[in-house]
Symmetry: C2
């Protein structure tokens, strides 16, 4: 059993904890959270031991009667692997504390790539992280791109990628974010940071990315043009993507017209929190003109990196190879079992 601690219990941390809990070869040591609020209470109700930062007693206000197990320092010491799911930038602040222990660390994509010796996407570069002391799971958007490009590159050869990212403004609970009724170049400079981030896991691919942020909270959408080394048929592209359990071919003709439809589908399947772990590629959007492939895909920003975090834990623990780890993760969570185009 791999003993896993989760430091940070927000959007990503709570999902990683549940996903670790679902694995046959992992156990949750506990979760650490600064604010002793309704989310902390839910963690304890769920059976997770709750730890707090050493400095948190002053911050929590003490108004909640929530049972605490110990300090974050203790959680780190008791864990083989820590998943740092603290807010972007805080992970880098925590890095020194982790480095003084024998506990390996999974950082999130909000950190700079320099936070760890490798950046990680299970489909792109699992082996690089095997046996390392730390890695960084790339962001939701980069994960979505790497998962798509890797099989295309293997099967057809990818010369270059041009992607416009239509980014959600914030997650549903981030009521302090915008925009309202606007379309915002984000960043206004080209290429956006996503291009360099993708190259941390797929260094040989020529990438252009541009980003705009819009008033939506459910998913990101990617508009892609991929220049291939060969000229496959549309059917061959379908077949290639259908092999990938973390890619779902969705269809407008099947009522999957929008991001909201995709999330509704996940709720209808009783998925926890309506999570969509898979890239959702619209089948009707797949177009091939010679060596140029175009398509549209949606990415659930809260969920797609969760299976990657699980695989990153196994890679750090040197427990399995990439394919085995992905299969265990997929089976345990139910990834790619919707069969919407079966």
């Amino acid at each position: 059993m791999i003993h896993v601690g989760i430091n940070g219990y927000g959007t990503i941390g709570k999902r990683v904890a549940a996903a670790v809990d679902a694995q046959p070869d992992m156990t949750v040591v506990g979760v650490s959270k600064r604010s002793l609020d309704h989310e902390a209470a839910a963690a304890v109700d769920r059976g997770f031991d709750l730890y707090v930062p050493d400095t948190a007693a002053d911050d929590s206000g003490g108004s909640c009667d929530i049972s605490l197990t110990g300090s974050t320092t203790a959680l780190i010491a008791e864990s083989d692997i820590i998943v740092d799911a603290t807010p972007a930038g805080v992970g880098a602040d925590n890095a020194e504390q982790y480095a003084q222990t024998d506990t390996a660390v999974v950082f999130q994509g909000g950190e700079a790539s320099t936070v760890a010796p490798t950046s990680f996407c299970a489909r792109a570069n699992y082996a690089e992280t095997v046996g390392q002391a730390a890695t960084r799971v790339v962001s939701c958007n980069t994960t979505g791109l790497a998962r798509l490009i890797s099989p295309l590159d293997e099967q057809f050869g990818v010369a270059s990628v041009d992607c416009t990212l239509i980014r959600r403004g914030g997650d549903p609970t981030q009521s302090n974010r915008g925009p309202i009724n606007d379309i915002v170049p984000d960043p206004v400079t080209v290429p956006s940071h996503h291009a360099a981030d993708l190259q941390t896991v797929l260094p040989s691919i020529d990438v252009m990315t541009k980003g705009v942020t819009v008033p939506a909270t459910l998913m990101h959408v990617h508009s892609l043009t991929v220049c291939l080394a060969s000229a496959p048929s549309v059917d061959a592209v379908h077949d290639c993507l259908r092999e990938e359990r973390r890619i779902e071919l969705v269809m407008s003709a099947y009522g999957q017209d929008t991001c909201a439809d995709l999330r509704e589908s996940a709720y209808d399947q009783d998925r926890h929190r309506g999570d969509v772990w898979e890239n959702c590629v619209w089948s009707e959007s797949i177009a091939v003109d010679g060596r140029s492939l175009s398509l549209l895909q949606a990415i659930h920003q809260q969920a797609d990196v969760i299976p990657e975090n699980i695989d990153a834990i196994r890679a750090l623990a040197a427990a399995d190879d990439a394919e085995t780890s992905r299969q265990i993760t997929n089976d345990a969570l139910g990834v790619g079992l919707t069969g919407s185009l079966a």
Copy 2:
């Protein structure tokens, strides 16, 4: 003087009427409107003679006390040129009636390209429409693309264009439209119809377009990659675009971060209805990698085709050449005089 009638007094019609009224060589015969509502009253208050369709007496309800001048049939007969600004598809229904008169017609981009012998963008193909009996001003998005691609093609050669259109869901008064909190592939098929539409005015350009619709009402945004025949510097691209009065180079560094900022700028300049006639190209987004040019631009869907409608009137009347017409139109409206990067 060119005597111009405007059939349809909605988003486009009301703006065309005001723009015709501002031209030194045109006069507004009158405007035709089916619903005798607050917009019709405003037209009369503004001094435009109001005509109604022959069938409108039954539809209007008769509750408004608005002074009528005559029927749409009379308006057509009294005009040298009719601008058909009726809802998409109605223009095609009206085409037969126009064809039975000597009055030339400007249709809008909501109609199929077969509605008229030419499609029109003043910067791309003015001469093709000179002396014709009808033309169709291409849609707001196509106009925005054609205006940008034409000078780039002249100066650097354009081999191909790849554009993702982030489309506004509706105009501010279209409260029956969506989406709310969603990102919608629109259309889900690739390429979107914009590619074929652009080729109606620039037939030699290889075009890929993909569209998504988002919860915003202010402007469209285009994310473009243009493959050029040469490899210009970023400065050369700036210089090329700065020559175009219907392209405005806007800057995040100047506080022009979002579509809302661009519209606010137009209001601050006392532009009627806050209209932005120009393509707004974000200066910071212009990037060149070899022969590949990338940039982001915003298009005010209610306004950018207005100068084109005016030039289309002159082309049908064979009154001026393209450059002269554009200059008269620009001067009369104040296009390209903001000098935000002067």
